[in-house]
Amino acid sequence: MSRLDGTFARLRAEQRTGLVAYVTAGDPDLPRSAEVIRAVDRGGADVIELGVPFSDPLADGPVIQRATERALAAGTTLARVLDLAASLRADVAAPLVLFTYANPMVRMGIPAFARRAREAGIDGVLVLDLPPEEAGEARASFVAEGLDTIFLLSPTTSVERIRRAAELGGGFLYGISRLGVTGARADVADSAESLAARVRAETTRPLALGFGFSRPEHVRAVGRWADAAVVGSALVQVVAEHAGNPDLGGEVERYVRWLRS
């Protein structure tokens, strides 16, 4: 049983809605990013997703695009994100998931990437532009290193492909609750509930719903249909607003705690 499996089993046993927190690694720079990640963990996130900054984040909205630009400008690379994770692993309780575009990983070499990710204490990998049809080689390397392969599902994903992702994936399934790029919205989309229902009908694998959530009411609403809610852009925005604040960690920790209230 992987660390992610354990986390989701515990959430179900406690009948609690999990919080998956996304931050762009290296934003605003590597030292402050370490502080942010520790604060997210202290705030009680159940899973932490580390976004690997990439020059062309085509699935991301403006908030994560800006974070990516800051992280790249501060010299963040995939190799440094892995080093960052390794340096934090012992202090951070939550499972760590790398959230990346394919090319940095392909450039490093997929087997080498998988080995380094495992050595850094990464638990799962989600590659945004690597749908199951293209993920064969990567998944084989991830499985060999004991990493969970996390697949995305969207309101446009067919039933057959939901089944395939559930079969091939590990850890949890990440449901994109609405069409569009990442970014916080005022309300939970209706498509979130119908996607969750379609996934539930096919698999018992844990489901986290994301895209657009920013408030505790969103997390609670998602808990009616799924195991966990993902909060990304809204958290990245908190980091952006308090980047110069000496109490950046405190602000982040309070925000994450509030999301769980």
């Binding site: 990439f54 020059s55 062309d56 984040p57 085509l58 699935a59 909205g61 695009q65 790249l72 690379t77 995939l78 190799a79 394919a102 090319n103 940095p104 990983m105 392909v106 450039r107 490093m108 945004l128 532009d129 690597l130 749908p131 049809e133 293209e134 697949f151 995305l152 599902l153 969207s154 309101p155 446009t156 994903t157 067919s158 492909r161 994109i176 069409l179 569009g180 790029v181």
Partner: protein, 409 residues
């Protein structure tokens, strides 16, 4: 000198990639999950449309009576004399309606969009020619059209920005990254991810996820079909070489396609050498790049050691792009096609010399192909026959060339 029996025809369905969209190790479908069902539906709709005689007849009708095909194959005798005496023939895509080969693909895909029930077209553009072609097709078919364009390109191709707006399209400037073609594609994909229910993404070159590289090449295959028949009629034999500029690779694939099985014909793609072949100053993917995954496809890419896409430079907006279409990567890997580059200076010189020698002002993109002819002509000598794809006309570039030369012509 077009012979009357030459009609616009396509090469549909004879050189397909595998079912997953791979040409050898290149291609595929590296898209975010939300777009998977869209590219699957698009593939199905396209494969069905290309078999449908009614679809093909309508496309041929538009190409003949609206676009003005077949385009001439012009023997450029003065250019030939200045190029080692070889016989040089120009495939005159500059004479199509809207002034570049881009219209062949834009009309084909717009017909497909209409058939699929879309009401809105999304397009990206670099030089503005694909944006103009898409806006034109949208006007003709009564569809909405939004064109994404890097703000850097909007400045250097201002005439085309105005043309698109005149045609009723909305032009949205893209400021992110290098504010050029790749950033416009990112933004177009972001739009499509949100609007996939009613919008059609009309990609302008032979790149991106399957089926685009196949579909765009096949809509452009009309260029090669005509050129091959024309050169046989005019020169009595196949050429020694076919030369085309390579941005994403659509005009080159369009003309190469008909000659791929003619082993004696060299296929030469010309990339943008920019200022120098050093990081950030050119767009010659095969000279300075490496394999990678970008904007939906596995191909050759200009990138750094960490897998981030590097900046590019070319005097020509349409060649100023960090990746190349996957079929070119495959043709390069098998050795069937060769890739050279021409730098800014050579392209500007060719821009001027074609105007002086033949009375034809080429697009700066096409000028890169023309720039390669001088050396090739000397290599082949007077016995040699070269076909060059003159992919577009240069009106759009006149202002920026005047700025570069300080108004001296």
């Amino acid at each position: 000198m077009t012979t009357p029996e030459i009609v616009p025809t396509h090469n549909f369905g004879t050189r397909d990639p595998d079912a997953r969209g791979y040409f050898g190790a290149f291609g595929g479908r590296f898209v975010p999950e939300t777009l998977v069902s869209a590219v699957e539906a698009l593939t199905e709709a396209y494969l069905e449309a290309r078999r449908d005689p009614a679809f093909r007849a309508e496309l041929t009708r538009l190409l003949t009576h609206y676009v003005g095909r077949p385009t001439p194959l012009w023997e450029a005798a003065r250019l030939g004399a200045a190029s080692g005496g070889a016989r040089v023939f120009l495939k005159r895509e500059d004479l199509t309606h809207t002034g570049a080969h881009k219209i062949n693909n834009a009309l084909g895909q717009a017909l497909l969009a209409q058939r699929m029930g879309a009401r809105r077209l999304i397009a990206e553009t670099g030089a503005g020619q694909h944006g103009v072609a898409s806006a034109t097709a949208a006007a003709l078919l009564g569809l909405e059209c939004v064109v994404y364009m890097g703000t850097e390109d909007m400045a250097r191709q201002a005439l085309n920005v105005f043309r698109m707006r005149l045609l009723g399209a909305e032009v949205r400037g893209v400021d992110s990254g290098s504010a050029t073609l790749k950033d416009a594609i990112n933004e177009a994909m972001r739009d499509w991810v949100a609007s996939v229910a009613d919008s059609y993404y009309l990609l302008g070159s032979a790149l991106g996820p399957h089926p685009y590289p196949l579909m765009v090449r096949e809509f452009q295959s009309v260029i090669g079909q005509e050129a091959r028949a024309q050169i046989l009629a005019q020169a009595g034999r196949l050429p020694d070489a076919v030369v085309a500029s390579v941005g994403g690779g659509s005009n080159a694939m369009g003309i190469f396609d008909a000659f791929v099985d003619d082993a004696s014909v060299r296929l030469i793609g010309v990339e943008a050498g920019g200022e120098a072949i050093t990081i950030g100053r050119h767009a010659a993917r095969f000279a300075g790049g490496a394999e990678g995954v970008f904007q939906g496809t596995r191909t050759w890419l200009l990138q750094d050691d960490d897998g981030n896409v590097t900046a590019t430079h070319s005097v020509s907006a349409g060649l100023d792009y960090a990746a190349v279409g996957p079929e070119h990567a495959w043709l390069q890997s098998t050795g069937r096609a060769e890739y050279a580059w021409a730098d800014d200076r050579a392209a500007l010189a060719a821009f001027e010399s074609l105007a002086r020698l033949e009375g034809i002002v080429p697009a700066l993109e096409s000028a890169h192909a023309v720039a390669h002819v001088a050396a090739l002509g000397r290599e082949l000598g007077p016995e040699g026959i070269i076909v060059v794809n003159l992919s577009g006309r240069g009106d759009k570039d006149v202002q920026s060339v005047a700025n570069l030369t300080g108004g001296r012509a």
